[in-house]
């Protein structure tokens, strides 16, 4: 086993999916010869040919519409939207079309589509490149929404997503692409699409996070440990559906919870997690459910990301407040 970057793990996962099923197609803007603007599809066109891995004209709605037509003629599309901020051009295809296909045809038709798109801040990108848009898709019946926080999960999750027979929105955290490295087996393995991961066990507080905030939670946990506050960290991995079993189990043990998201606080994943907890585990809590999230402003100009994105210190402060409630 070798240490690999998060993005290399994704490339390996797509490679395996392409090798295993000749119906798998990878396409999007610059994903062919160029290997993607982040090299996520590097070398795949050379290996599988232009029929399987190809670039498309610059039109997101066209790309996802193409995916639907390919899906209903027997293909397994893995389209890429170059940056999450551009996905709004194609929301009809996601929200009004592919998510409903199984429903509308009573399972006689389906849409085995995996939409890959980078999201999340911290890399000083231009406007509308790093927006956290998961709240737009977690409320859509018929869609699964996942995001890995480690290289290992990235490979296992992308394979599961591509193999799944329903549409999956696969969110790749931009900041983690090259900053995160981990042990990644060369061979095929899968990570389930609907299971959270207990990243670190603890007894005093449950910190629930996903994507780029998992490592912030880990940093916070180290500081807290010095003061004998033992934090359990759950990486959601799946933003829809929520793995409430894992969340409730942890809360029964720690009696305190802090939910962390990089996105703006309003109507986010954190709100869904909080209401699931209030419905299913409120009686185990010794303190209010607390959310750490970005302010309800438009995504910041690059120079202000450092004051906008929730950092480990914010998580640390929230935990101290909760455990001392």
């Amino acid at each position: 086993m070798a240490k690999k970057t998060y993005i290399k793990a994704i490339t390996e996962g797509i490679d395996i999916a392409l090798a295993e099923d000749p119906k798998t197609l990878v396409f999007g803007e610059d994903v062919g010869k160029n290997g993607g603007v982040f090299r996520a599809t590097n070398g795949l066109q050379e290996k599988y040919g232009e029929d399987r891995v190809f670039s498309t004209p610059l039109a997101e709605s066209g790309i996802l519409g193409l995916s639907i037509g390919l899906a209903v003629t027997g293909w397994r599309p893995v389209p890429e939207i170059q940056f999450s901020g551009f996905i709004f051009e194609a929301l009809d295809s996601i929200v009004s079309q592919m998510s409903r296909i199984r429903f509308q045809y009573n399972g006689t038709k389906n849409a085995p589509i995996t939409i890959r798109t980078p999201y999340g801040g911290g890399t000083h990108t231009a406007e509308l490149h790093a927006d956290n848009f998961e709240n737009f898709v977690i409320g859509v019946p018929g869609l699964r929404v996942v995001t890995p926080s480690s290289a290992y999960d990235a490979k296992g999750l992308i394979i599961s997503a591509i193999e799944n027979n329903d549409p999956v929105v696969f969110l790749e955290n931009l900041r983690l692409y090259r900053s995160v490295k981990g042990e990644v087996p060369d061979d095929k393995y899968t990570v389930p699409l609907d299971k959270a991961n207990v990243v670190q066990e603890g007894s005093d507080v449950t910190i629930i996070a996903y994507g780029g905030e998992v490592s912030e939670a880990q940093k916070a946990a180290k500081k807290l440990a010095k003061d004998n506050i033992s934090a359990e960290i759950i990486d959601l991995r799946s933003l829809y559906p929520l793995d409430t079993d894992t969340i409730f189990e942890s809360i029964k043990k720690t009696h305190h919870v802090v939910i962390v998201q990089e996105a703006q606080k309003q109507a986010g994943v954190g709100a869904e997690v909080a209401s699931a907890i209030s419905e299913g585990a409120i009686m185990y809590l010794d303190a209010p459910i607390t959310r750490v999230a970005a302010p309800n402003s438009v995504y910041p100009f690059p120079q202000a990301e450092n004051v906008w994105i929730p950092a480990s210190k914010d998580i640390e402060d929230a935990v101290r407040e909760v455990v001392n409630y």
């Binding site: 039109a59 519409g65 037509g69 003629t73 009809d92 079309q97 429903f103 509308q104 009573n106 793995d243």
Partner: protein
């Protein structure tokens, strides 16, 4: 003082439209043949068949409007006046082709294999309305979405290596203003996919007139933007519609890439059964010349003169059709209402934990 100009924009504008404003026509309003060469492509049987298809569509419209007025149906977009555009083009496609219809294209979908009962179920809003035995998607409500999806369907057909097979889609001239319509044509062009785009230009997008939809003189010339061949056809002439669609299909099926067809047609009645009233936005003076172009009249005149068709035959056939439609309505009415638990079960292949819980809850409710 020289006043030479690099560009004559006025001339370019005039020429752009003129190049496409030449609708293909075979029969004129009086049922006279204006293109003998193309007319020779049709056998008597084919002519009678096309006549029957149009009579069938008009009877379907009349019966469906009547059911709609009785409150027995849900959404219905009338097709009265568009019989040549719809049946003429639809008749050119084969069973193996993949149809991407819009909400007004129920007749084409039925021609392609759906049953009338299923289309009534679609109108009433029942999942069984979508479970037809035809290579097609359900009627698309989001205007333009069928165009990008059709480009993908055509690419899928090409990648499957399917011979003599195309994808085809319909929208209205209002739909030609959508980004998805341009994107669909452009994608199909880039991938040289076997796709036939059919834009039925009936002059009105609900209350919004064609001339305000675009400054382009024809919708057909929009094909230029995608680099795909395009043609305007007299959409009240079923023979011209059939011939053009057949040639477009052959061109696309032979691997030459997509084609765009603009049919010039008219909706004689309202936009939809949902309370639209054309007298709010268009005049009788405008409607009159279009009624003179009625696609049934011109072919009826031609066939009657040739002793291939008669008023009695038509009346008898209309009565037969309407009997069938009444039976279809009964069939649709007899279908059991849907259950919430079934809706939940068909949302994912493997239900998510929250859906599993909801299935249990609704099954308990439904068993009471």
């Amino acid at each position: 003082m020289a006043d030479a100009k690099a560009v004559d924009f006025a001339k370019i504008k005039a020429e752009e439209g003129a190049a496409f404003a030449k609708p293909v026509q075979i029969l004129d309003n009086d049922g006279k043949v204006v293109n003998k060469e193309l007319m020779a492509n049709f056998t008597d049987d084919q002519l009678v068949d096309l006549m029957k298809k149009m009579v069938w569509e008009r009877a379907l419209h009349e019966q469906t409007m009547s059911f709609s007025q009785q409150g027995r149906l849900g959404f219905y977009a009338p097709t009265w006046g568009e019989e040549a555009s719809e049946m003429g083009t639809a008749a050119a496609f084969k069973k193996q082709d993949f149809l991407f219809p819009a909400y007004r294209d129920l007749p084409q979908l039925i021609q392609h294999g759906a049953t009338v009962a299923q289309m009534y179920l679609w109108s009433k809003g029942h999942v069984k309305g979508n479970l037809f035995d035809a290579r097609a998607l359900r009627p698309q409500i989001i205007i333009g979405a069928q165009m990008v999806e059709m480009a993908g369907g055509a690419l899928g057909i090409k990648k499957n290596g399917e011979k003599d097979t195309v994808a085809y889609a319909y929208t209205g001239e209002g739909g030609s203003s959508q980004g998805d319509t341009y994107e669909g044509m452009n994608f199909a062009g880039v991938f040289q996919a076997p796709a036939v785009f059919i834009i039925q230009n009936n002059g009105w997008a609900i209350s919004y007139p064609r001339k305000l939809q675009t400054e382009a003189e024809t919708i057909a010339q929009k094909g230029v933007a995608a680099g795909i061949p395009a043609v305007q056809v007299d959409g009240m002439d079923v023979l011209a519609c059939y011939e053009v669609a057949k040639e477009a299909r052959e061109f696309a099926a032979a691997g030459n890439g997509p084609v765009l067809i603009e049919t010039l047609t008219y909706r004689f009645g309202a936009h939809s059964s949902a309370g639209d009233d054309p007298s709010r936005y268009r005049t009788k003076d405008e409607e009159k010349p279009w009624f003179d172009k009625d696609p049934l009249i011109r072919l009826r005149k031609y066939l009657t003169e040739k002793k291939l068709w008669s008023e009695e035959e038509e009346e008898k056939y209309v009565a037969e059709c309407k009997d069938d439609f009444k039976k279809a309505m009964k069939e649709a009415d007899s279908v059991e209402p849907e259950k919430v638990s079934d809706m939940l079960k068909r949302t994912f292949e493997v239900p998510t934990p929250d859906i599993k819980e909801q299935i249990k809850k609704y099954e308990a409710k439904e068993s009471k």
